[in-house]
Structures are given as structure tokens and as C-alpha cells.
């Protein structure tokens, strides 16, 4: 199967987080715990759902990532998930003075 990681949004700030090796949430996708067995995904999701750490986040789900050996950091396969990693593809800030 493709590799998977678990993501969610933090309850208090709403920002994107990933489940890490220590079974906690990290804002860094590089720290994400990479899962390669289907059955393990189910198990991990169940644990998160019941455990204390599940209380700090909303919308927990697994995403497919490219985790081939050459790459250090898991890269989500879906474009939408890559936008969640990197933020909007357009500068959200206002640039003034403007081009007239």
C-alpha cells in the first residue's frame, strides 16, 4: 500500500497538525509517523479517538503520502493536502504600495 500519515486540526488554534512518533501532535510534517500497514492505520485512528491526545484536535484522518527512501519528508499525494502543509499558494498578506 501507499504510505499514510495521520493529520488533524488543533482544537484551540485550528492549525494543521500531524501525528508524530511519540504519539503526539506536531505542526511539522517531517516529524509525522509514517504508517505502511492498512491494519495499523485503523488501529492508530482508534487509539487517537480514545486517547487524551484525541481531545486536542478535530477532524482526524489518514492521508496518502509519497515516502520513498530518497525523500526525507513525507509528501502528500493529494494537492489539497500539500496546500495544508504549505499554506495558501497565494500570498495571503496584503502587499502595498500597489502596482498602479
Amino acid at each position: 500500500m501507499t504510505a499514510r500519515i495521520i493529520t488533524a486540526n488543533r482544537l484551540d488554534t485550528g492549525i494543521v497538525v500531524y501525528l508524530n512518533q511519540l504519539f503526539d501532535w506536531s505542526t511539522e510534517i517531517s516529524a509525522a509517523r509514517v504508517i505502511t500497514e492498512d491494519s495499523e492505520v485503523e488501529d492508530v485512528l482508534k487509539i487517537v479517538d480514545r486517547a487524551k491526545i484525541g481531545e486536542n484536535v478535530v477532524g482526524v484522518y489518514a492521508i496518502d503520502v509519497d515516502d520513498t527512501d530518497e525523500i526525507d519528508v513525507p509528501v502528500p499525494l493529494r494537492f489539497r493536502e500539500r496546500i495544508r502543509v504549505n499554506g495558501p499558494t497565494v500570498s495571503p498578506h496584503h502587499v502595498t504600495p500597489h502596482h498602479a
Binding site: N9, I15, G59, I83, V90, H94, T96, H99
Partner: protein, 551 residues
């Protein structure tokens, strides 16, 4: 402007306090997400891709300078220093924390604002013509009636759990600047032969995955019966609207399935039974609300026309597109474009909001309007103040002379922000703006409304864009379907798909191509959309797909 009564203030204050408690209980774990979600949505708070998003109502698009300053304060203190004005006459803040939201609601309450009913299956923020109270062509000020609708629909116990969301728009009766034909109920002010004011009532318009234009079910509704008639429509919908399938739950589907005549009969029957009940509007109450919308203290202006004072070409261009006729001699309405080069349509920085609040105080009796086209309006500007105003706007990137032109694009947040998106929309609008960055040419092309949605929900009204662009996804790739010939005014029409979709990077070429065909075949004074109406889609299709049999 409408000023809150004690009960209005109490309601929004209490709501902010209740939400404070609910958020605390959520953090303590006393409420889980399933229990909490409806509570936060009732206060307009969504979880979006990168953070929480708050949708703040701007009823019928009217803002005071004090309110705009507060929105600037909030966006600077709690967000990233900007906000996104939407087609629904709302302001959306994209980067909020849950923990800050109760404080934000409390801040909003101090300037008579809130986010109640900006989400969920209830009657949403009532929208209106953004030129209300100023337009030379209006029969009456639609805000008076929108305010009456707002008061009736706020926390209306019978309509808190409708089959689906419900949107009402009111136009002043002249040119339709409120897109009434694509709302669940569209109200147009009209005058009958006896000179009485009333409404033409349309039902069943809507966009989303099944776009439909509203059908007129009553040509003339006497104004004192506005609420009894709306209540009759809502009652019929509440009973017969489909709750089995969320895609068929809007009133447009009910009207489509039953037929407008049947719906009219059902509504009229219901109305006959209730029309003379407590909902009939007493004249005194209408006058009380009307008093809140009295025209400002206009002056008699005998200064020379600004055209004679200012020769700067930039000013002349701006005056041509962004300055509109006012009912008061010597005054104009000014559109402040939020579509500057490189800026997401509808975004305004906190700094721009502060400056605009000051300019509104200096030049427009402290009033600002939010248009469904994602621009801001200064409704009452003395003609001889236009040059000075324009110069001030220029300094903060708000003087772009493109209102109604091809770069005045409506765009939803799309996949850069929205969890429901299939594709991005903001970068596509920026790419088009970049390509068409020649003001002279833009003015030559004339009125051309481009609207881009990031998914079938159609939040950017793409179906009624002269050119509509719909973002979709196929095998993980974004692609865009293009329609032409839609319009949202009194000749409302749903655009027609020109053919197979395009990659995002092809869209600027597609737009160029459509414009080239138009410039080639247009008759004198004909708008893009009129050309499509006259010739159909074929010349555009032929040109677009001429070299691509493989598509």
C-alpha cells in the same frame, strides 16, 4: 443607519456570553465536537483548511465607519491583518483561533454586529442593492425592508431548522444590482398603478450544483404584507422542502418539482389564512424603521464639475468606471475596487479599512457599503470631492479603475482556504488580472463580469458570470470548466458550458480568446454578454477548440 434597540443589543451581548461558556465547556471536554459543531456554526465559525474562519454578517451590505474600524481592529488583533469581503455581503476572517472567538463576538457586539445565522439551515444574512439609499433609479430604499426582514428572521423559532439554508435579497426596483434571481427569495421593489409601494416576489432561484432562476409568484405584494407573505412561503417550504437529500433540499428544487403555479397556490392559500394576523406591518413600525434610513444632510453643491479641474488620465478612467449616478444632484456613488493587481478579489488589509473609514467620514457621511461583487462603496460623495478622494484611494491601493471591467473578478476562496474546494480560484483570478493588465484595453472591452468558483457550490456565482469559471478535479489535477452568457441582472441567465475543461494555466489564454472573438464580431455598443446572446456560443466554441481535435 439602523440603530440597535435595547433588545437587539441584549441579544448579541447574550450570544457572545453564551458562546464564551460553550467554548470553555468544549475545552474542558464537557462538550465533544459533535455537540459543539452546531453551536459554533450558529455563530458563523467554521473549521477551514488552515485555521478557524469566522463569517461576520454585514446586513444588506451597510457599514458605518465605526464598524469598519472595528473590523480592522479585529483583523489586526486576532487575524493576519486583513479580511475577505464576500458575495454574501459578509466579511470572512480566515486565520482565527477558537479561543479568541468569544472575545471577537463581544467586540463585534459593541458596534452592533454579529455572526448569528451566517451558517446552517436557517434564513441567512439578508442582502440588498449596494447602492441602496443613493441610486438614482430606486423606487424605495431596499434597506428599510431588508431590516424588517432581518428583524423577523433573526432567531425566528419556526424557521431555525429549515430543510436547508435560505437566502433573501432585496433590490431597489431599478437595475437589479442584488442578483435577486439567484436567491431563494428575490424581492424587487415596485410601484402599482395607484402609486403604492410593494414587491414583485420571486422564489426558487439558486446556484450550487443545480443552478436555477427564480420564478415570479406574485407581481405585486403590498408592502404591509411583506412578512405575512414571506412567512407563508417559508411555511410551505418548511413542510414540503426535501429533507431526505441535501442536494435536493433547497427551495429551488421544490419549485422545480412542484412547478411555480402549484407553489404559488400553496403560498397564497397559506397567506389567505394568515395575512391579516399580527404580521401585517403597522404603518408606525415601518415609519420607525424608515427613520433609521433617512438621507444624510446633503448640501447644495455649485462647484464646477471635477472633469474641468483634473486632467489626469487615471482620474478620468476611474471616473468612467467607478463613479455612478446619485439621486441627489451634485453627488455621486463611488465604487472602491478591491481588485487591485496581485490581490485576492475581496481582500482588504486592516490599513485599507482604517483609511477607508476615515475617507467615509470625510467624504461620505461615515457610510460604507459592501457589494456582492466584492467591492466597497462610498455611497454619498460630493462631485467636487472626487479628485481628492481618488488621490487618497490611490495611495493605499484602492484607486483601481476597473469596476465592472474584466479584472473586477468575483472569486471564492477556493482550495487555498476552503475545505470543500475541488480546485483553486484565487490564483486563476490573479493570472487573468495579470494578463489583462492594460487599462486602455480593458476600458475598450467594456463591461465583462468574470466569476470563478472553486467547486460546484458556486459561491462566486460563476453560473451568472458573463464568463464563468468552475474549478473541478480529475485524477488529482485541477481543471476548469468555462461558461459564457450568464448574467445576474434583470435579464438574469445561466451561462452555457463552452466545451471540455482547461488546465489552470490555460485560462488566461481562454479569456483572451473569448475576448478576441467578441471584439471581432461585436456591434456598436454591444456588451460581451449581448454578443453571446445574439450569436450563441458557437463562434466562441469554434475559436476555442479550433486547434484541439484531441481534446
Amino acid at each position: 443607519m439602523y440603530t440597535y434597540q435595547a433588545q437587539d443589543q441584549l441579544l448579541v451581548d447574550q450570544r457572545a456570553a453564551q458562546f464564551q461558556e460553550q467554548v470553555e465547556r468544549r475545552f474542558e471536554g464537557a462538550l465533544n465536537e459533535d455537540e459543539f459543531r452546531p453551536l459554533r456554526l450558529q455563530n458563523g465559525l467554521y473549521q477551514e483548511m488552515h485555521a478557524y474562519m469566522l463569517r461576520i454578517n454585514i446586513p444588506y451590505g451597510t457599514l458605518s465607519s465605526r464598524q469598519l474600524r472595528k473590523l480592522a481592529d479585529i483583523s489586526r488583533t486576532f487575524d493576519k491583518g486583513y479580511g475577505h469581503f464576500t458575495t454574501r455581503q459578509n466579511l470572512q476572517l480566515n486565520w482565527l483561533s477558537l479561543k479568541d472567538t468569544p472575545a471577537i463576538l463581544a467586540e463585534l457586539a459593541t458596534v452592533e454586529m454579529h455572526a448569528i445565522q451566517s451558517s446552517g439551515s436557517c434564513i441567512r444574512n439578508v442582502t440588498a442593492d449596494h447602492f441602496a439609499g443613493a441610486a438614482a433609479d430606486e423606487i424605495d430604499d431596499p434597506r428599510i425592508w431588508a431590516e424588517i426582514v432581518r428583524q423577523w428572521s433573526t432567531l425566528h423559532p419556526e424557521f431555525a431548522f429549515l430543510p436547508r439554508k435560505f437566502k433573501i435579497a432585496v433590490s431597489g426596483g431599478g437595475k437589479d444590482r442584488a442578483a435577486t434571481a439567484v436567491h431563494d427569495i428575490g424581492l424587487k421593489l415596485v410601484r402599482n398603478d395607484d402609486g403604492q409601494i410593494g414587491f414583485e416576489v420571486m422564489v426558487g432561484g439558486g446556484l450550487g450544483r443545480t443552478p436555477m432562476l427564480g420564478k415570479v409568484i406574485r407581481e405585486f405584494l403590498p408592502s404591509d404584507h411583506l412578512l405575512s407573505y414571506l412567512e407563508a412561503i417559508l411555511r410551505v417550504y418548511n413542510q414540503l422542502g426535501r429533507r431526505d437529500n441535501k442536494y435536493k433540499a433547497r427551495i429551488k428544487i421544490m419549485v422545480h418539482e412542484l412547478g411555480a403555479e402549484v407553489v404559488r397556490d400553496l403560498v397564497e392559500d397559506e397567506w389567505l389564512a394568515t395575512r391579516d394576523s399580527g404580521l401585517k406591518l403597522p404603518q408606525s413600525e415601518v415609519s420607525r424603521i424608515r427613520d433609521n434610513f433617512q438621507p444624510p444632510a446633503f448640501e447644495v453643491v455649485d462647484a464646477p464639475d471635477p472633469d474641468h479641474q483634473v486632467q489626469e488620465p487615471g482620474f478620468i478612467d476611474w471616473q468612467r468606471t467607478n463613479v455612478h449616478a446619485h439621486k441627489q444632484p451634485g453627488y455621486n456613488i463611488v465604487t472602491v475596487s478591491l481588485k487591485a493587481f496581485g490581490i485576492a478579489p475581496g481582500d482588504a488589509s486592516a490599513e485599507q479599512m482604517y483609511v477607508l473609514a476615515n475617507l467615509a467620514d470625510a467624504y461620505s457621511f461615515g457610510e460604507i457599503r459592501v457589494s456582492h461583487e466584492q467591492n466597497l462603496i462610498l455611497p454619498h460623495v460630493r462631485r467636487d470631492h472626487l479628485p481628492a478622494l481618488w488621490q487618497s484611494l490611490q495611495r493605499v491601493g484602492l484607486g483601481t479603475a476597473n469596476a465592472g471591467l474584466a479584472t473586477d473578478i468575483i472569486s471564492c476562496p477556493g482550495m487555498d482556504f476552503c475545505t470543500l474546494a475541488s480546485a483553486r480560484s484565487i490564483p486563476v483570478s490573479l493570472a487573468i488580472t495579470e494578463r489583462l493588465d492594460d487599462l486602455k484595453r480593458l476600458h475598450d472591452i467594456g463591461e465583462l463580469k468574470i466569476k470563478i468558483s472553486g467547486c460546484v457550490n458556486a459561491c462566486a456565482h460563476h453560473h451568472v458570470g458573463h464568463i464563468g469559471i468552475l474549478g473541478l478535479e480529475k485524477k488529482g489535477e485541477e481543471f476548469y470548466q468555462v461558461t459564457v452568457g450568464g448574467r445576474a441582472d434583470e435579464e438574469a441567465a445561466i451561462g452555457q458550458v463552452v466545451g471540455p475543461g482547461f488546465a489552470g494555466h490555460e485560462i488566461p489564454d481562454v479569456i483572451e480568446n473569448l475576448i478576441a472573438v467578441y471584439l471581432d464580431v461585436r456591434k456598436n455598443g454591444e456588451l460581451f454578454v449581448d454578443t453571446v446572446k445574439r450569436l450563441g456560443t458557437s463562434p466562441f466554441k469554434e475559436s476555442l477548440y479550433a486547434h484541439s481535435e484531441t481534446r
